[in-house]
């Protein structure tokens, strides 16, 4: 049996050479490049009014100015703080709650209906409520993101922990692990794939809730900046911030997926 590794000559499975990968990435995102060219083209050719859609080059210039004058950083940091705090809270509380619900029946009986009731509620409906409770500052945004993101994280952790194989729990027990140790050593790692999936959903939701709450009730943040610039008719700058938010969401998701692939490397 030990020679079975040698029976199959190594198939090329490693990462492709750097240049090949670069070309691959370029090809993958070429539709985006095409869209950018199209955007610039239709505005430059006058097919679309500049009042409705400033050209991409104008938008990029406005982004540069916003960055240079510091507005982008100030508001970006403010948004990042709110998003990170809300999401982190949701991961800690939601993850623990989901696993506790899967492990202890009474917790499930008590919390299950609450989670189910909260699930279909459009979280943006809570914006006025969170403002009423915590005012216009960071607190209300963090609470909103926490409440909204907790649900997918809880459900992911719950389903993941429920899918934990009985035989794994029993193996750990017979190898001398206490029940509580099994929770840490077996149930949590078993829940990880689904939990990480839930967190990815929560990450996307964070951006939705962040920007919409800042747009409606805030005096700082990227969402606020979009609203402020829009009302002032400074459309190229407004588009610039929208673009920045879109890229932030995209990179956050990419980065997160890289992280997940690392953590779940054992799945092959």
């Amino acid at each position: 049996m030990t020679e079975s590794g040698k029976e199959h000559p190594a198939v090329e499975t490693g990462p492709p050479p750097a240049r090949g990968r670069l070309v691959g990435t370029f090809l993958k995102y070429s539709p985006l490049l095409l869209l950018a060219l199209l955007w610039e083209g239709v505005v430059q050719l006058g097919l679309v009014s500049r009042d409705l859609l400033p050209s991409l080059s104008e938008v990029l210039k406005a982004a540069w100015n916003l960055a240079r004058e510091g507005d982008l950083w100030q508001n970006g940091l403010s948004s990042a703080y709110r998003g990170a705090a809300g999401l982190a809270l949701a991961i800690v509380v939601g993850g623990s709650l989901g696993i506790a619900m899967a492990w202890w029946r009474p917790v499930d009986a008590f919390m299950g209906p609450l989670v189910e009731a909260l699930y279909p509620l459009p979280k943006s409906a809570l914006i006025p409520v969170t403002v009423l409770w915590l005012g216009f500052g960071d607190g209300s945004k963090i609470l909103l993101i926490f409440l909204g993101c907790m649900i997918p994280v809880t459900i992911g952790a719950y389903n993941g922990a429920r899918s934990c194989e009985q035989a794994l729990v029993w193996s750990a027990r017979s190898l001398g692990a206490s029940r509580l140790r099994v929770l840490r050593d077996v149930v949590v790692p078993s829940a990880l794939p689904e939990l990480l999936n839930g967190i990815r959903t929560a990450l996307a939701l964070t951006f939705v809730l962040l920007v919409s709450s800042e747009l409606i009730v805030s005096r700082s943040g990227l969402g606020y900046l979009i609203g402020f610039l829009g009302e002032g008719g400074i459309y190229d700058a407004m588009f610039a911030v929208v673009l920045v938010v879109a890229f932030m969401g995209f990179f956050a998701d990419r980065l997160y997926q890289l992280f997940v692939r690392r953590v779940l490397a054992w799945r092959e």
Partner: protein, 267 residues
Amino acid sequence: MFMFDSRAAPVKQQIVIDSVSHRYRPARGRAVLALEDVSLEIAPQEFVALLGPSGCGKSTLLYLVGGFLPVEKGSIRVEGAPVAAPGPDRGIVFQHFALFPWKTVRANVRYGLEKMGLAREEQERRAQGYIDLVGLKGFEESFPSQLSGGMKQRAALARTLAVEPKMLLMDEPFGALDAQTRSLMQSELLALWQKTQKTVVFVTHDVQEAVLLAQRVVVMSARPGRVKAIVPIELDKTDPHLFRSPAFAAKVDEIWSLVREEALKAQ
């Protein structure tokens, strides 16, 4: 002093199962009587096979001995003490290996040693010893998903053996393996048992496997599981051509006729 005679007497039987019944309650649907009034005694260093059609409760009986399920009716004593919880004295091996998929082979084998509180170097030394024993040298850093079925079961066996249990509870351990690997693993298990003289309780539905490995075959009836017959196997287990001998064939026939009725009932 004679009052204490019964306590002072040496424990002859290692596992004593006395009039055990077990009701299985699925999450949905009605409770099923899985075992009814099962009594069985297993001596130290004995190799016993629990044989029966699927659903006869043979695995349930094993899980009860393992302490994974609560004994509700009757009693099970291991070395004189009632079974209350799983413990490292009774090592378990499952059909689908139950390796921790997020741990490497080495980390899997080391898991029980960590729980024993051994020093790190001792853990490493012992883990390596058992990895070598089951023939997984060179695969220490592999994850279970990178191993074949046979290698996974070897890793699981190493993990169980590493904590040096007195008893091995094996739940159809070779049931998920291909025929060649199964046959190989059977002879390796036999050699291991002869070398270490552990008590083995081996659940299977394969008559040949039971006759090949066990000293006694406990034939169980279809649901609810009862002990239908206990057949001693007095064959020379060291004979590499055992399975081609007439005595082997006769034993298989004898047991197969017992199992056959039950298998038909279970259909």
